[in-house]
Each structure stands twice: as structure tokens, then as C-alpha cells.
């Protein structure tokens, strides 16, 4: 387990040196993240205009690349307002609940390093070996879950404290939606953790450095990835699952009453979350910074490049979805989460576990594995059928009841 710790602390570097390197990493990570968010929002607007036969932002800076900066400055210098009816303390606090977790999640994502096959994921800076990630706690991936749960509070409190009806509806939606999809998210994670056997994000990434066949995506058999991806979309409130702020229904959802810099914080948090969660997804399923490293220049640079590339693809997929899909209804979203995603993730975890257990018991020949697979699939299908049937019965009953109530 010690392996998970940053080698910086194991080496013989002096305290001051360690401190400096850590501070440097913090500052750089913070700055880079802010700039990335800025660029991402610009890219989102450009990409979506491209899909809509438009030009998109083009006035602020070359190609409108400073568009987000302009938005930020403008919002910063706008009049701020705290509604009379609001709970003032909570109202002020809520945006920070939203932005701080978004920043913190990024600390555990391995960004670069030598993740080539056989590499140890480290980088040597100023003569010290270190990880290119802010921290690598033992519980790494649980930290992500914890932080994303806390972010819900930001949204929930924001809506509740505004003292107005639409935000309240938005925050009610938010809390229910997040809680439901948190479960699916966790179950999808379990599949990865089972395969890698570690919670440390660094080790998870390192485990996958052997090539595409080692990637979490392949090892866990695709399904957990899709569950994770959909659950993430819901967690992030990005379209099509942006019910929390559904403009057409709830005007602005939880942030209706927010203006100025507080709104900017929500705005930023939302997109920062997209980037960090893309990073988490890359770490878990796509091997983090691993990939083909040409024997040229420092290895960590190639790792960084791979990482950025993969995150970029994911971030763009989110935009792509934004531009394509209509928004589902709230109850359909919940139905989908509870009746589809969670059973699917649960079943898949059971399947993986069964295979693993029998493997440990020595049934690891291809034939026996296939047999076990078939048996498990049949069993699971049976239970899935039961579940579907019970859902159908429940729905039917509800309809009858509904008629009685409203008749």
C-alpha cells in the first residue's frame, strides 16, 4: 500500500524542497484548471455553433478565444444581489459548496507521468521523483465520490435558500437526481476496483498502462463504463440531464436568483466538473496518461499529451450530446436510473465477481469460464426478467390507483 504514496515523501528530499514542489503543484494545478475551464467553455460554444451551421464567438480575442474571460470579467463587475426572502448566510455559502469540490476532485487525477508499459508513473523534477497529481491518498477514488456528493449540497442549498419557487423545485430535483445516480456511479466504480484491487487513482492508472487490453474499459467489459458515463452525465447536470436548471421548465433552476460573481462560480463549477469527471473517467477506464510513447523527449510529456487528448474527446462528447439530445422528463430520468442503470450495474458486478471467485478457486480454463459465464448470464437474465415483470406490475397498479384517486 505504501506504493500508492507519492515517492516524493519517501525520498531524501528536504522539507523545504518538498514544500516548494507541493506548492508549485498546487498553484499550477489551480491555474491550469481555471484556464482549461475557460478554454473548454469557449470550445463548447464553438463546437456547438459548428454543429448548428453557425460561426460562434469570434469577437473577443482571436477566434473569440477570450470569450469566457469577457464573460467572467463582466460578471465580476456586475451588481450582486441577495434576495430579501433568502436565507442570506446559506445563499452566500452555496456557490462555494459548488466550486470547491469541483476543484478538489482534480487533485487525485493523475495528469501525466511515465505511464508507458513498465513505467512507474512518476516524473523526476528538480532531482526528485514525484507524481504529476496533487495528492494520491489511499482512498483516492472514494474521495471523488465524496466530493461529488458534497457538490450536491451546493446546488440543493442554493435552490432552497433562494426563497423562491422555481429554484426550490430545481433543488428538489437536484437532490433526488444526484442521490439516485450516485448509486449507479458507485456500482460502476466497484467493477473497476474489483479488477484493479486498489483505490488509489495512481495505481488504477498504472494498472492499465499495458495497452488497450489492460484498460478498465475492456477489463470490466464495457458495461460499467457506459453506466458510469450516463451516471456522470446526470451527476454533472449536463444536457440532456440538465433538469436541475432546465431553462424551459424552471427558468434557471437552482441559480435563478443568483447573479454576478456568485452565478459565475456556479457556471464555472459546472464546466469544471465536466473536465474533472472526464479526467476521472479517463483514469478509470481509459488508462489515464498511458498510451504509445515515442522515444523522444521526456516520457511525462507524452503522458500529458495522451491524457489531454483523452479528456478532450470526452469533454467534446458531452458537448455533442448537448447539441443533439432532447431533455428527458424528470420521472423518466429517475425511472431510468433506478430501474435500468442500477440493476444493470449490480448484475454486472455480480457477474464479474462470480467469474473472479471461480477463477480464484482454480476454474480458470477457457471452457469452465465460458460455462460459468453462461450459467451466470442465464441466472441474471432470469432475475432481470423478474425485475421487469415486477416493474410492469407496479406500473399497472399505480395506474389503477391513479384512476381511483383522480377519477
Amino acid at each position: 500500500m505504501l506504493f500508492a504514496l507519492d515517492p516524493l515523501f519517501l525520498g531524501d528530499a528536504g522539507t523545504l524542497e518538498i514544500l516548494l514542489i507541493v506548492i508549485l503543484k498546487v498553484v499550477v494545478a489551480f491555474g491550469v484548471l481555471l484556464v482549461t475551464v475557460m478554454l473548454y467553455i469557449w470550445w463548447m460554444r464553438k463546437f456547438i455553433s459548428d454543429m448548428q451551421n453557425r460561426i460562434g464567438p469570434s469577437r473577443a480575442g482571436p477566434f473569440g478565444i477570450l470569450q469566457t474571460l469577457a464573460d467572467g470579467i463582466k460578471l465580476f463587475f456586475k451588481e450582486d444581489l441577495i434576495p430579501n426572502k433568502s436565507d442570506k448566510f446559506v445563499f452566500k455559502l452555496a456557490p462555494f459548496f459548488s466550486i470547491v469540490p469541483a476543484l478538489l476532485v482534480f487533485t487525485v487525477v493523475p495528469v501525466a507521468g511515465d505511464f508507458s508499459s513498465g513505467g512507474d508513473g512518476t516524473v523526476t523534477w528538480f532531482g526528485n521523483k514525484t507524481f504529476v497529481q496533487l495528492a494520491d491518498p489511499h482512498i483516492g477514488i472514494l474521495f471523488v465520490l465524496a466530493m461529488s456528493s458534497i457538490a450536491v449540497y451546493g446546488i440543493m442549498l442554493a435552490g432552497w435558500s433562494s426563497g423562491s419557487k422555481y429554484p426550490l423545485l430545481g433543488s428538489v430535483r437536484a437532490s433526488a437526481q444526484m442521490v439516485s445516480y450516485e448509486a449507479a456511479l458507485g456500482l460502476a466504480l466497484v467493477a473497476v476496483l474489483m479488477k484493479t484491487g486498489t483505490l488509489s487513482t495512481h495505481s488504477i492508472a498504472l494498472n492499465q498502462s499495458g495497452g488497450i487490453t489492460d484498460w478498465g474499459l475492456v477489463v470490466t467489459g464495457f458495461v460499467p463504463f457506459f453506466v458510469f458515463f450516463i451516471a456522470t452525465t446526470a451527476e454533472l447536470n449536463t444536457p440532456p440531464f440538465d433538469l436541475v436548471e432546465a431553462e424551459q421548465e424552471l427558468v434557471g433552476g437552482f441559480h435563478t436568483e443568483y447573479s454576478s460573481i456568485r452565478f459565475a462560480l456556479f457556471f464555472m463549477a459546472e464546466f469544471m466538473n465536466v473536465i474533472t469527471m472526464s479526467g476521472v473517467m479517463v483514469t478509470l477506464f481509459f488508462g489515464g496518461p498511458s498510451g504509445y510513447y515515442p522515444p523522444l523527449g521526456p516520457a511525462w510529456f507524452w503522458g500529458l499529451l495522451w491524457f489531454i487528448g483523452k479528456v478532450f474527446i470526452f469533454a467534446s462528447v458531452f458537448v455533442w450530446m448537448r447539441g443533439t439530445l432532447p431533455r428527458p422528463r424528470y420521472d423518466q430520468l429517475m425511472d431510468f436510473g433506478w430501474k435500468m442503470l442500477i440493476p444493470l450495474a449490480l448484475g454486472w458486478v455480480m457477474l464479474l465477481a462470480t467469474l473472479d471467485v471461480f477463477k480464484d478457486r482454480g476454474y480458470d480454463s477457457g471452457l469452465s469460464q465460458l460455462l460459468i459465464l453462461i450459467i451466470s448470464v442465464v441466472t441474471l437474465t432470469f432475475f432481470a426478467g423478474l425485475l421487469m415483470k415486477s416493474i410492469a406490475i407496479g406500473k399497472h397498479k399505480r395506474e389503477i390507483e391513479g384512476e381511483e384517486v383522480f377519477g
Binding site: 473577443a60 470569450q67 456586475k78 434557471g252 452565478f263
Partner: protein
């Protein structure tokens, strides 16, 4: 507030914000930056009323693309919007709500009166319409036409951008005291058109 060294006379800062400050090496640059950003990121509120609303939305669509000036972000919540495009005729029943939405918007805020119905009642010179939205809210730019084509609206927006960047808007509002200068005859039982509201 006292006169601060370096920052010049700042006694008006409480009332007028940055605009009330004397120019100095620091605020001069900041003000330029702020104006630059305001002109490039002016989020309109969705305030569509009638025919002009269609043209306003058409201006946001692919053929004209307000997104080029960072304005495709139509904010449904007035709290986050900077620009109110009064697109269409304002009836006596709507007038109080228009004012309410305007009041909900945060400073700095601008108003474009889009189309002749909003600007003056247009061809509907009758009991039902407010004859000029500038009796209710201070208007910065008027776009003529019924409805104004997207180009006209874009021209109005560009003109507003320019004024925001040169700071002319604030000055002009002070001069005109915000109101439109129309005197509307009082009619029996109707109160909504009377008031000429200042800044």
C-alpha cells in the same frame, strides 16, 4: 469617501460605482477592460412579446448568429441578463411586468427597444398599447422597422456595444434623465401611460 492618493477623487464611488471615480492609472485600465468585456459578453434576457420576438430569435439562429458577439446566451432569469430587448408591443397589462423584469435585472443593464410598436406604439395608436416603452424603462437604442430585420437588430446591438465601449451611454442617460420626453394625454380610467420615469 476621502480623496485617496493614487486613485484620485472617489467621493462619487458610492453612488455611481466605477463611473463615479476620477480617472487614474489604475481605474483607467480597469475601466477599459470592464467596458471591453461588457461589450463582448452582453447576455440578453428572453423578453419576447410579439412579432419582433420571432425576429429576435431568428437573429440568434444560424443565418445571423448573435453568438459571434457572445450573445447566444439568452438568460431566462433576468438576474443574470445584461440586455433587455423589448421585442414587440407592450400592452397596458404588460407594462407593470416589463418594469418588474427590468427592476429584477442587475446593474449595469441596457435596453433596446426593438420595433416600432415598442418604440412608439407603431401603427397601433390606441387605448391598449403603451405608446413608447421609454415611458416605462430607459431605452438606450431604438431599432426601427416592423419588425426590424435581423440586420437592423444587429445594427442596434452593435451601436449599443460601441456606446458601451466609449462610455457614451452613461453620459447620455444623465442628460436625458432617462425618460422619453413624450407627454401622453390622460384618458379616463387609465393610469399606466402617465408616468414618465426617470433614470
Amino acid at each position: 469617501m476621502a480623496k485617496l492618493p493614487l486613485l484620485g477623487d472617489s467621493k462619487n464611488i458610492g453612488e455611481d460605482g466605477l463611473a463615479g471615480m476620477d480617472h487614474n492609472f489604475l481605474t483607467g485600465k480597469i475601466e477599459d477592460l470592464v467596458k471591453w468585456s461588457r461589450a463582448r459578453s452582453m447576455w440578453p434576457a428572453t423578453f419576447g412579446l410579439a412579432c419582433c420576438a420571432l425576429e429576435m430569435m431568428a437573429t440568434g439562429s444560424a443565418h445571423y448568429d448573435l453568438g459571434r458577439w457572445g450573445m447566444e446566451v439568452f438568460r431566462a432569469s433576468p438576474r443574470q441578463a445584461d440586455l433587455m430587448i423589448v421585442a414587440g408591443r407592450v400592452s397596458q397589462k404588460m407594462a407593470p411586468i416589463l418594469r418588474q423584469v427590468y427592476d429584477q435585472m442587475m446593474e449595469p443593464k441596457w435596453v433596446i427597444s426593438m420595433g416600432v410598436c415598442a418604440s412608439s406604439g407603431g401603427m397601433f395608436n390606441n387605448y391598449a398599447l403603451v405608446q413608447g416603452v421609454d415611458q416605462i424603462v430607459p431605452v438606450d437604442v431604438y431599432a426601427p422597422g416592423c419588425p426590424p430585420g435581423p440586420e437592423t437588430l444587429m445594427h442596434a446591438i452593435l451601436q449599443l456595444h460601441q456606446k458601451v465601449e466609449t462610455g457614451e451611454i452613461a453620459r447620455r442617460r444623465n442628460e436625458l434623465n432617462g425618460g422619453a420626453g413624450i407627454i401622453v394625454e390622460q384618458r379616463d380610467g387609465q393610469t399606466a401611460t402617465k408616468v414618465v420615469i426617470g433614470r
